[in-house]
């Protein structure tokens, strides 16, 4: 939305905004905690509130055509986008494309955690969706791997729903999240945070029954004699985000193998002219305010690119 608004403000006349969900706002809609907008709006908002400010602005601009339930499934280097809407597959040819496709969570498998594969292991974002949007509590006795912001926020969220949160386990010597989240989500609720620890094993046949936790040395190897067990029925995995860039990859853009971000000369650019990337799909950000700023830049870049193209015509 921020990219669309800024492209409009930079003079682009005909903008199509595609969203596969029923609503605009993306992941913000499930982030019902506060702390959004401190730099951008100079006040503290919830995720849905922050998103709704942009929705209002987008809806007020007639040259931005919004299509929800529109799922982009194909992108070419020539900037043709194929998207599905109920009952139709539509193809559009754009002069410039801005991708704001966000990120996905790294999984338990990517962290190579040994043990069984029962029910009760959730990516933290899925647990957040189940509680905040669907209204289901995923578990009553929770251990959280990773002290990223989603993990921290979810520790408090489970606590507020009456669940027991046993601990947050972090392999690094410092938290990956914001300090204010450690204070407000863990310290205020007496939830212990173990640094330099990792989950060595998951137990449970049908449902998670417990985990083994170990302390690690500088090389992340288990320190002998440090192993202890924790009973739990739920393991939340919050071990980082990966930008979702499969569409630009399909179009032929070069991606960095490790970070899955576009390889480009300048901010927001890809190796394909006229295709830009912003927000968490460009790079994983901590704060939504910076995401909005990044997206505004992408909108301006797209406008600039179109200016160049039009001059050539």
């Amino acid at each position: 939305m921020a990219a669309a608004i800024s492209a409009h403000e930079s003079g682009v006349k005909d903008i199509l905004l595609l969203e596969r969900d029923l609503y605009l706002g993306g992941l913000l809609n499930q982030c019902i905690h506060t702390g959004f907008g401190l730099t951008y709006f100079k006040e503290t908002l919830t995720g849905p509130e922050y998103a709704s400010r942009f929705v209002e602005r987008v809806r007020a601009i007639p040259s931005i055509e919004v299509v929800t339930r529109a799922f982009a499934v194909r992108l070419t280097g020539e900037k043709t986008v194929d998207y599905l809407i109920p009952g139709h597959m539509v193809s559009v040819r754009a002069k410039a494309v801005v991708m704001a496709t966000g990120s996905r969570e790294r999984t338990r498998e990517m962290a190579h955690i040994a043990g069984t594969r029962p029910a009760g292991i959730f990516p933290a974002g899925l647990a957040q969706r189940l509680i905040n949007i669907e209204g289901y509590l995923p578990g009553k006795n929770v251990v959280i791997v990773g002290s990223g912001d989603i993990g921290l926020i979810m520790a408090r969220r489970f606590k507020l729903e009456g669940a027991e949160v046993k601990a947050v386990i972090e392999i690094q010597p410092v938290t990956r999240g914001l300090v204010r989240n450690v204070v407000q989500c863990l310290d205020d609720f007496g939830i212990p945070l173990y640094f330099r620890h990792k989950i060595a094993h998951i137990y449970g046949k049908d449902r998670v029954e417990g985990v083994d936790v170990v302390r690690v040395d500088e090389e992340m190897r288990e320190i002998e004699g440090s192993r202890f067990s924790m009973g739990c029925d739920t393991l939340l995995v919050s071990v980082g985000l990966i930008p979702e860039n499969e569409l630009i990859e399909m179009a032929g853009a070069e991606l960095d193998k490790k970070s899955n971000t576009p390889v480009s000369g300048r901010m927001n650019e890809t190796s394909l002219p006229g295709i830009f990337v912003c927000g968490n799909s460009y790079k994983v950000y901590d704060i939504v305010d910076t995401v909005s700023a990044c997206a505004e830049n992408a909108g301006r870049m797209a406008a600039g690119y179109l200016g160049k193209v039009e001059q050539q015509v």
């Binding site: 969570e105 190579h112 029910a119 899925l126 998951i202």
Partner: protein, 530 residues
Amino acid sequence: MYDLIIIGAGVIGSAIAREISRYRLNVAVLEKSEEPAFGVSKSNSGIIHPGTQNRPGTLKGKLCVQGNRLTRMIAKELGIDFKKVGELIVALDNDELVSLSDIKREAEALGVPGLKLVGRAWLKKNEPNLTEEAVGALYAPTAGIISPYRWVYDLLENAKANGVEVHTSTRVIGIRRVEDPLSADRGPRFEKRIAHSAESKAWVERLYALCALRYADDRTRTDPGDGGPGTGNYFELATSRGMFRSRFMVNAAGLYADEVARMAGIEDFVIYPRKGEEFILDKKKHNLTRHLIFPIPTKTSKGILVIRTSDGNPMIGPTAQDVDSKEDLSTSEEGFRRVLESVKKYVPSIDENDIIAYFAGLRPASGDDFIIRHEDAFPGMVTVAGMQSPGLTAAPAVALFVRDILKKNGLDLRRKPFFRRWRREPYHLFSSSAEAARKMIKEDPAYGDIVCRCEMVSSKEIREAVRRGARTLDGIKFRTRAQAGRCHGGFCTARILKILAEETGENITSITKRGRGSEIVVRDMNDGGC
């Protein structure tokens, strides 16, 4: 009264069910899990072996070679994606090169077709990522890959289309053989016997007591189909869902075949679980190898392999380790290290960061060979046990073998006038052409309603899977690949839960990952509890 009951809906039980569904018989498959294929048949390497690594004179060898041929044929009939990719047994030094000739000779004696010894130049050209150290290999062109669980579903679905009943969540807990006093072919054990596991004793006793009451009534009738004097011997199977009666019975209970056998008083074999851990690589690495890569086999194992899977992801494994529990499906750090170290000797470019998923399976081991036989001491019962690798490959051949045993022991095999041999190929939006996809979506918008964004699975396919019998998240995953991609269900699980609940009429709180006890959420907070 059934003519035949098959215990276990793994690949063996399902292949037998499909084979027997050609005949005019009343057949039921009883499966203790919530869905078929949740046992050994869901976690294996998915290789249709050519028959190379088996000793001559073994059942394994004979049925593997035959099974390879039959699998290719039936896969075509059912429209399932079997790929004939070929395998290379690779020698890293001259000693190993010598043993390749031995393997070739033994395999040719078994009838494995098309074997060829290939040298460095061939390997360089045809398997570029193979280590420079490789001095030669035995090439077996008939090796192939299949999706093991979709194979089971398709076999079973086809059996169902031909009239076989499938009862899931139905665990057999007691077996007794009822002998007709007028029957000529009484078994050597004349006395009726009740055998069962100790923990379920009370339940079994109660079931039999209940049934006895009913039969007292039955016996006064002359319905030849329902037991009683003059109608022949039959089995009574006590299950978690009540009593089933059948004239013949096949024990295809995989890891638990020994426990089922013990219910019938057969105690001469034990199943020892042997664990195999496997690690799946990112689809982006689908070009890693062109063939299946095998080391020189040892006496007990085919070794740790580089595998191609029908979903496109390469896979490495399996380990082989005896374990105590038939439920121990955990993976380990050591297994991970061992597999990586071992495969890197053959394909050095394999990188641990490409591993995106892993699992463990348990081989139902019992001695060196399969145990497939009629139980003369318990006439009418056929045991199919010790089905380790190549059990997946052998399954259709095992089915024929079992059919012949049943026939020899009195099962009357008369062909149905019409057998549904073919099946419409399943559709998938993104394996169709753009034009076909457009048309599909226009006709049914649900095709364009994508639920799993990583594997592009539509709500149409998910609902279809439920209609075909999926009841759990794993069942949906095995059938459609939804949740099996990059995000491992992070994005689509919530939606799939809702579809499952809608289609089955259950509450989301009772939807499970793979059956009772594996519920996903613990509390519904929508009913305004506070």
